[in-house]
């Protein structure tokens, strides 16, 4: 009998189906890898098992008995521990306080026993020995630790609860090879103790190294489960991407020129680990891979919205210091986010204001000359086929697609030479998407260079001339021409190795 069994699990967020009948069984004492492409539903399935998301339908059996958790607290009480990808440590609290949060040792009168706490944590830390690196003590503030050290503390925190079932969601993402070896040793010990592990990773090497069985998910459903000994990497990648092929090639009018529009060298930041590439004029370069591997961070860093640690950026051959969006946009670089609510529209303000705000921010003028500005934006209103009742109407009256056209229009009005598009078609209708693709094509034939991140893999492969595949803040591969397939994309997305 499996220790944990989920069947027919369904979950919908708004209109989006995240899980459409997932089947999953975890045996006692096994390490079970869970893999799949973006949006396949693996995180949602884990959150349901962890009790932080409630399923719409389906059953969850623990030791053969049906359970339904009202929250993470109950799941934890049932012996389920979760390593959260985004970490659940409190930065302002110490290592010791974090590891035993909620289960601090107490003395006879019920007061915290700090000595016992710190002794227990010191013992736990010593498990990791040298790979923990310098400066990790029970009293160190977690906020003062490096990314890999925080991950190791999160692992210790999960294990301190003594769980029977452990979900590791990207628990090795920031670790180096030696740290992974130690963590894997620990996981093998857990296995030998009869504990069961669900292991999520974006590294195929790890799947074959640590897991006994693997379940592949696609489009909210589990595709198949098998023992690792009976499968191959290519078979797993094939199962992840399914039979889908790249949509019929779009008609392209643009031909990239040889002139370099944007050159990026060894860019590092909190989430980028040495990114280098060149973007030519009239070229669309896509940023792909699993979600959150640094694609958005790169675009936001290039636009000066998040700080860089080191690296060089050159626009048209001249050095650019991306200190802030205002400085960057004056070098004719524009940024459009698909997160319209947060980074795009000013919802209650008129369409006119939303269209001219970039011009106003760029130009050093004291007054708003309405007629001049209307003249400057009107060609773009036509070009984007923007439909509205009046320029004075609030932008929130428009559909999502038209709102996105307004955001794009405001940037086109600044006549950029480089356009940074961060998932620009998120949540907009097909017709508007086609309009946007056509606009991008047209811009490229005029020599504009486009850097495109998209959460829609098909779109990325169809629209971009080249695709850079990201993994852990690095470019792991480049796909061009006939290589632009989902298979190649996921082969590269899962291919990375840990730094030594």
């Amino acid at each position: 009998m499996p220790v944990l069994e989920a069947s027919g699990v369904r979950k919908q967020f708004g209109g989006v189906v995240a899980l459409a009948g997932a089947q999953f069984a975890l045996e006692t004492g096994e390490v079970h890898a869970l893999i799949g492409s973006n949006g396949c539903g693996k995180s949602t399935l884990c959150k349901i098992i962890a009790g932080s998301v409630a399923a719409d339908a389906g059953s969850l059996l623990l030791d053969g008995r049906p359970v339904s958790f009202a929250g993470p607290r109950q799941a934890a009480a049932a012996g389920i521990g979760v390593f959260y990808q985004e970490l659940s440590v409190i930065r302002e609290m110490t290592v010791a306080e974090n590891i035993y949060l909620g289960r601090e040792p107490r003395n006879r009168v019920g007061m915290l026993d700090r000595e016992a706490l710190e002794a227990a944590v010191a013992a736990a830390l010593s498990q990791f020995g040298e790979v923990l690196g310098a400066g990790v003590h029970p009293r160190t503030r977690v906020g003062d630790l490096s990314a890999d050290q925080s991950q190791l503390v999160e692992i210790l925190k999960v294990l301190a609860a003594n769980p029977r079932i452990i979900i590791f969601d990207e628990a090795t993402a920031a670790l180096d090879r030696n740290q992974v070896t130690v963590v894997f040793q620990r996981i093998r010990t857990l296995k030998a103790e009869g504990r069961s592990v669900i292991f999520i990773t974006h590294r195929m090497d790890e799947v074959f190294e640590i897991a006994d069985r693997v379940t592949v998910m696609r489009n909210g459903a589990t595709v198949f489960t098998c023992a690792l000994a009976q499968t191959t990497r290519d078979a797993l990648v094939g199962a992840m991407v399914g039979g889908a092929v790249v949509r019929a090639g779009r008609e392209r009018r643009h031909v990239p020129s040889e002139a370099i529009a944007l050159e990026v060298e060894n860019l590092t930041s909190a989430k980028l680990a040495g990114v280098s590439f060149r973007l030519r004029r009239g070229e669309i370069v896509g940023l792909g891979g699993l979600h959150g591997q640094g694609q958005s961070e790169l675009l936001r860093a290039l636009f000066g919205a998040t700080p860089l640690r080191s690296g060089a950026v050159r626009v048209g051959g001249e050095t650019l210091d991306p200190r802030g969006p205002r400085a960057v946009m004056r070098r004719s670089i524009a940024y459009v986010s698909g997160d319209r609510g947060r980074y795009g529209v000013m919802a209650i303000r008129p369409i006119f204001e939303n269209l001219v705000i970039s011009l106003l921010a760029r130009d050093r003028r004291w007054t708003v000359a309405r007629q001049r500005l209307e003249g400057e934006i009107s060609p773009f209103i036509e070009r984007l086929k923007l439909k509205f009742s009046s320029l004075r109407a609030a932008v929130s009256e428009l559909s999502g697609g038209n709102q996105q056209k307004v955001v794009l229009g405001r940037w086109l009005a600044t006549r950029p030479s480089v356009l940074l598009l961060d998932d620009p078609t998120k949540g907009i209708d097909i017709q508007t998407k086609e309009d946007l693709y056509a606009t991008m094509d047209e811009l490229c034939s005029q020599g504009v260079a486009i850097l495109l991140h998209s959460s829609d893999d098909e779109e990325l492969l169809a629209v971009a001339d080249r695709v850079l595949v990201f993994n852990g803040g690095q470019v792991m591969g480049e796909l061009s021409g006939e290589q632009r397939t989902r298979f190649a994309l996921y082969q590269a997305a899962y291919a990375s190795k840990h730094p030594a």
Partner: protein, 304 residues
């Protein structure tokens, strides 16, 4: 930081007011600063959870007039005093629970919610006692102004508050409170009962508001429906001066008590320096701003 400012102010005060360090004067200073210190202690717990209680001062007013009305209305007997104080305590706790339920369980926005409940509590206070007045029997205010075992009552109360804080700081609740303030989502995922913890913090704030109201009854021997009004923001100021971050998690009660004493000493210094009354607000604001800026500069220095 707060300790440095506190010592500087004590020195300045001692220079301006030679009797400052005398036992009686020191005790009367403690008595004068005690209500704000108590409200600040309660506020600290709420702020540690990254919430805020803008109704604390109104709770003080409400409890103050209710306690005085009950005691005076029942003739000032021993029973009436016990009953009045018990009612006041219950009322303070209830107000805290109302705040906590609205914020933690109904998920209302803390600033707006407690601002609104504060108006309600203040409204009740005016309804109970429209004008300052009524009296409590001498037994009550003489005990408050007197000594027990040679130590002034007010010092005992302050010591009790510090002891309470010391005990709470060694509980799982306190760790859960800081975790909630540090990162609510992470705390929830870890299994911390976030809603219960926030409710607990607001309840403690209500409790200490009630205690502050008792101190004011002892100090003024009468009721005043507007007495607590200024305590809300000065308690928040005391908490921040004492090093507790408004974003939660970092800080503690000791700092807040120091912060309250700093605010009190600033008024003292201005008074004994014989500065014109009109300057008080200006000087007080500048000193607070300087103290806050000093804290920020030091925090930045640590990060680099």
């Amino acid at each position: 930081m707060a300790a440095v400012v506190f010592l500087v102010l004590c020195t300045v005060n001692a220079v301006l007011q030679p009797t400052f360090l005398r036992f009686g004067v020191a005790a009367s200073n403690v008595a004068a600063f005690l209500p704000m210190a108590l409200v600040a202690v309660g506020q600290t717990y709420v702020v540690l959870a990254s919430d805020i209680d803008l109704s604390a001062g109104a709770i003080v007013s409400l409890v103050n007039v209710v306690v005085v009305s009950i005691i005076d209305g029942m003739g000032g007997s021993g029973t009436s005093m016990a009953l009045g104080l018990a009612a006041g305590l219950t009322l303070g706790l209830t107000c805290g629970v109302v705040n906590g339920l609205c914020v933690a369980y109904l998920r209302f926005q803390p600033i707006v919610t407690t601002f609104a409940t504060g108006i309600v509590f203040a409204g009740f206070a005016l309804w109970v006692l429209p004008e300052a007045g009524r009296q409590v029997p001498p037994a009550l205010y003489l005990t408050y102004a007197g000594s027990v075992l040679g130590v002034p009552t007010v010092v005992w109360i302050l010591a009790a508050a510090i002891a309470f804080a010391a005990i709470v700081a060694r509980t799982r609740f306190y760790q859960a409170l800081r975790a909630t303030g540090g990162n609510m989502q992470a705390a929830y995922q870890t299994g911390v009962p976030v809603a219960r913890v926030r409710l607990g913090a607001y309840t403690i704030s209500g409790l200490f508001a009630a205690l502050a109201a008792f101190a004011l009854v002892g100090e003024t021997a009468s009721g005043d429906p507007l007495i607590g009004g200024a305590l809300t923001l000065s308690s928040v100021t005391a908490v921040v001066l004492g090093g507790t971050a408004l974003r939660g998690c970092v800080g503690g009660v000791t700092g807040s008590i120091l912060g309250a004493f700093i605010l009190g000493l600033i008024s003292n210094v201005i008074f004994f320096a014989q500065l014109p009354f009109e300057w008080q607000g200006l000087i007080q604001g500048l000193i607070i701003l300087t103290a806050l800026a000093g804290g920020v500069v030091m925090a930045r220095g640590r990060q680099d």
